[in-house]
């Protein structure tokens, strides 16, 4: 009796063990995954997205030809291989790139994925009436053509040393032609069904979408790897604020993953102490910086002079003096700023181009340590002497700065700290914070946008998508200075004009070798920083939190954070 019992038990145990091993390899074995983005998703079509949140949600469904992994290395997704000059995929004259596509891919509705879908996606974005978000990825593209069902050639109008703009990274994935065919041009706006439930090749498909609230995904049964994804459903909730999002993962354990947690470090630390989850950070190219206005922005000036470059005839009364801006940079203790507002999510930096590593210059590291005496000495030498109230002045010009940024508690704390540091070198500061939708909005009628820059110094974060800085660095060319003639649409917010810089930018545009590009990039970075057009403060990481039970998360600053969600499991 006992023996029989033991045998049945052993068989039962064996059966259970077999079941669990087969279960391990099964799609959807880990049930539900709960993701929390405190900015809610407004559309699942990244071409019409309202920001990173939409692009990342869409990356569960839609895939590009190639993506970046967490080290910034390009890996094929829907492409069979990464084309290079060496393997003949990129033409020797750099005028075209030919992508071989994987042959085994089907859309979640079961139809095969072909080159026609890629060609369509390019046409979809290049249509001028459409208002395409990742348009800059398609710069200089003249024609996208299907050489056969599984080969696509992208032709450029100029030589492209870095031809990996279109369809690389989650900002410009492939849409299904059959689904979006009727949605081109102005009609893109009205295709609600398509925009909310795009058919994709990724590990999940959209079951239910409530705009600005929640998305329910389920595993795509046609996904190319039969044992993935491990989760059967994903609940993608949005709304609220960063602190409560962190709390839901780290303190209450209601959610598995929370995104973009820019929270004061001590608050985050206390939540992590609950032992339910961990915080992960990945450093990409985000730099929190002070932009120094090189033009006179006095409110007394008329509209056609205020904060305008006017070919250098309207210089700032004191910030155009290199001594002043150098002293301002030296007076800042960047480590204090990191400890206050960023913790593990930030590092002090002296570069506007801190990554990828080949591009990171170390010529400016002197600014890493605060040096009040040196700053004071520089100002004394330049003739800026303290007045009766302790504020330095020269020829009736007081060192009084209007310092603006967008509204956000970490930024306001940083403002207060910097104001005090500048107080130590006799510089007076007035702080102003502006609602982000106004500050970053491009309404030409508003005086408070960062493009208008009606202040002496402003602070914000900027970065670039992917790993190639050419387009980003081209922002500081003279031709990019914002003004009424270009509706304030220019990236050279500091309004600096430097002939050497423009020459380097032109050189980079025709240089193909990575080492040479890196050398040019570093030199450009040094010009910007050493002339104090921009005072870099903090190299910021992407910070997210995930439950301890969630495995396989590899935080990626170069692409969608959810880029490898197919590999996530419990």
């Amino acid at each position: 009796m006992i023996g029989k019992c033991a045998i049945t038990l052993a068989i039962a145990a064996l059966a259970v063990a077999m079941l669990s091993t087969t279960a391990l390899a099964e799609r959807g074995r880990d049930g539900q995954l709960k993701i929390l983005y405190w900015q809610a998703v407004s559309t699942v079509n990244p071409y019409l997205s309202g920001g990173t949140k939409d692009i990342e949600a869409a990356s569960l469904v839609l895939e590009p030809l190639a993506r970046y992994d967490e080290t910034g290395t390009m890996t094929p997704a829907l492409a069979a291989d990464i084309p290079t000059v060496e393997n003949g995929g990129v033409a020797a004259d750099l005028m075209s790139i030919t992508w071989p596509l994987r042959q085994d891919i089907v859309w979640s509705d079961g139809t095969p994925f072909t080159a026609a879908d890629v060609v369509f996606s390019a046409e979809y974005c290049l249509n001028e009436e459409m208002g395409c978000n990742p348009l800059s990825s398609f710069t200089d593209v003249t024609k996208v053509e299907a050489l056969d069902d599984h080969t696509v050639r992208i032709n450029f109008g100029v030589a492209k040393p870095f031809p990996y703009g279109p369809f690389v990274g989650s900002t410009s994935p492939i849409l299904q032609k059959a689904q979006f065919e009727t949605c081109t041009g102005a009609k893109a706006q009205t295709c609600t069904e398509q925009n909310f439930r795009p058919i994709g090749t990724g590990p999940f498909k959209v079951d239910e979408f409530r705009a600005n609230d929640v998305i329910i995904f389920s595993a795509n049964e046609n996904y190319r790897e039969p044992d993935k994804p491990a989760f059967a459903t994903v609940t993608f909730k949005g709304g609220g604020d960063a602190t409560s999002a962190a709390r839901a993962v780290l303190s209450t354990g209601e959610f598995d993953y929370a995104w973009n947690l820019q929270i004061e470090p001590e608050v985050l630390e206390q939540m992590v102490a609950n032992g339910k989850g961990q915080v992960v950070a990945g450093f990409g190219t985000m730099v929190e910086r002070l932009v120094v206005n090189q033009t006179n922005n006095s409110p007394d000036l008329s509209k056609d002079k205020r904060s305008l470059h006017l070919d250098g005839t309207n210089p700032h009364p004191f910030l155009s003096d290199p001594a002043v801006s150098r002293a301002l940079s030296l007076a800042i203790d960047r480590q204090i700023l990191v400890d206050f507002g960023y913790g593990a999510a930030g590092q002090a930096t002296c570069n506007v181009l801190p990554a990828p590593p080949v591009y990171a210059s170390n010529a400016n590291d002197a600014c890493m340590t605060q040096n009040i005496e040196e700053a004071n000495r520089i100002l004394d030498e330049a003739g800026w002497l303290p007045g009766d109230d302790g504020v330095r002045e020269r020829d009736g010009v007081r060192l009084s700065i209007l310092y603006q940024t967008s509204t956000n508690s970490v930024r306001q704390g940083t403002q207060a700290l910097i104001k005090q540091m500048w107080g130590q070198i006799g510089v007076e500061t007035e702080l102003r914070n502006i609602d982000a939708a106004v500050f970053f909005g491009g309404d030409p009628a508003s005086p408070d946008t960062y493009m208008k820059f009606y202040a002496d110094i402003q602070m914000y974060t900027n970065n670039f998508d992917g790993v190639d800085p050419e387009a980003y660095m081209a922002n500081w060319r003279c031709s990019e200075i914002p003004g009424p003639e270009n509706q304030w649409l220019g990236g050279n917010i500091a309004r600096a004009c430097n002939a050497e810089y423009d020459a380097l930018a032109a050189e980079m545009a025709v240089t193909a070798s990575l080492d040479e590009r890196a050398a040019i990039g570093k030199r450009m970075n040094d010009i910007i920083v050493q002339n104090q057009y921009v005072i870099p403060l903090i190299w910021r990481a992407r910070v997210s939190a995930h439950a301890n039970t969630l495995k396989g998360v590899r935080v990626n600053p170069w692409d969608s954070e959810l880029w490898n969600i197919a590999d996530w499991h419990r």
């Binding site: 209450t252 209601e254 491009g442």
Partner: protein, 337 residues
């Protein structure tokens, strides 16, 4: 009375049209921009194209006229079609009021959001009123008793401590420490049986209580003041002198007269129920109308803000009319000429 109502309703039409124009002008003038929340990596030229595609390139009066047509003609037609399953004209070609952020019809968004707002905000309003009126009456009737003092204290705390704080406190106590209640509201949850109903109760408990405290605080103060005013009136003395029972004096005579200001307050509050509770919805991620509105405002989603604010204005006008009619019923002395 009927005459009065008809006249008021007729008068409401030009009022609402004027309000819609002022709203549109205000939103147009506001300095925030729909591309303001896009990542800075999107260059200026692409932003300009996006603005054009949203129709921002057109002149103010054309955009206003388009909205008027879409809102007053196309959307009602659409609702009729949906309700009766008929097709009137070329319904595919009809332009609908579309949100700029989601590119989906605004009316669909509102319909999607209404249930959770009505559940949470509506229920909290109801509970607030049900708590406030008895508290107000007892506090006034037993003025300066311990009950009155306690009621005063609690309602003043309830009103002076903002919901962003009480909500956070509730989450820390009930979600983090005790782990009894969820801190995040699940809008996709469907009530099918008793256990799912229990889940619904649990997820509503905190936002409803936080809001009810706030509402009750306000209404109970006005109720108390109104009852106090009436308790000293001559008619109360007369009624008592006639030998009427105290309960009848209090609940028939005093209550009826005291309700006049409170009815105004309650009627004024009902549109805000539909308007949602911005902060509470955000804290508990209820994602109702209030959250929709604030997201739209922050993202300068003008069609959505315009439509929501206008619907809100319609509700305000209607409920003010209802309040006025109720005055007449509660107090026959009030005459509308």
């Amino acid at each position: 009375m009927t005459h009065y109502i008809i006249r008021r309703l007729l008068f409401a039409v030009p009022t609402l049209i004027a309000i819609s124009f002022i709203l549109f002008a205000l939103l147009d003038l506001a300095p925030n921009d729909p591309t303001g929340q896009l990542p800075l990596t999107i260059p200026a030229e692409a932003r300009e194209q996006i603005r054009e595609s949203l129709g921002l390139g057109e002149a103010f009066h054309i955009r206003y006229a388009k909205w008027m047509e879409q809102f007053f003609v196309n959307e009602p037609l659409n609702l009729i079609e949906r309700a009766f399953g008929v097709e009137i004209g070329a319904s595919e070609e009809r332009l609908r009021v579309r949100s700029w952020a989601t590119r989906s019809p605004v009316v669909d968004l509102i319909i999607e959001r209404l249930p959770q707002t009505l559940w949470v905000v509506g229920l909290s309003y109801l509970i607030g009123i049900l708590i406030a009126i008895p508290i107000g009456i007892v506090s006034a009737y037993r003025q300066y008793s311990w009950f009155d003092q306690l009621g005063t204290f609690v309602s003043m705390i309830g009103f002076s401590v903002p919901t962003f704080f009480t909500g956070l406190l509730a989450i820390i106590v009930f979600s983090v420490t005790l782990q009894w209640l969820p801190s995040i509201y699940d809008t996709t949850h469907r009530v099918t049986d008793l256990s799912s109903f229990w889940v619904q109760i649990k997820q509503m408990a905190m936002p409803v209580m936080v809001l009810a405290l706030f509402n009750a605080a306000q209404i109970s103060r006005f109720m108390r003041a109104a009852v106090l005013d009436n308790l000293t009136q001559d008619y109360v003395r007369t009624a008592r002198a006639k030998g009427l029972r105290e309960r009848i004096v209090l609940f028939i005579h005093v209550l009826r007269n005291s309700l006049i200001p409170v009815v105004t307050l309650i009627a004024l509050g009902i549109p805000t129920v539909f308007g949602g509770a911005i902060i509470t919805e955000k804290i508990f991620r209820v994602n109702g109308i209030g959250e929709l509105l604030i997201t739209a405002i922050q993202g300068a989603d003008i069609p959505l803000v315009q439509t929501l604010s206008f619907l809100f204005a319609v509700l305000i006008v209607i409920f003010n009319l209802i309040a006025d009619v109720l005055y007449g019923i509660l107090d026959p002395r009030i005459r509308y000429g």
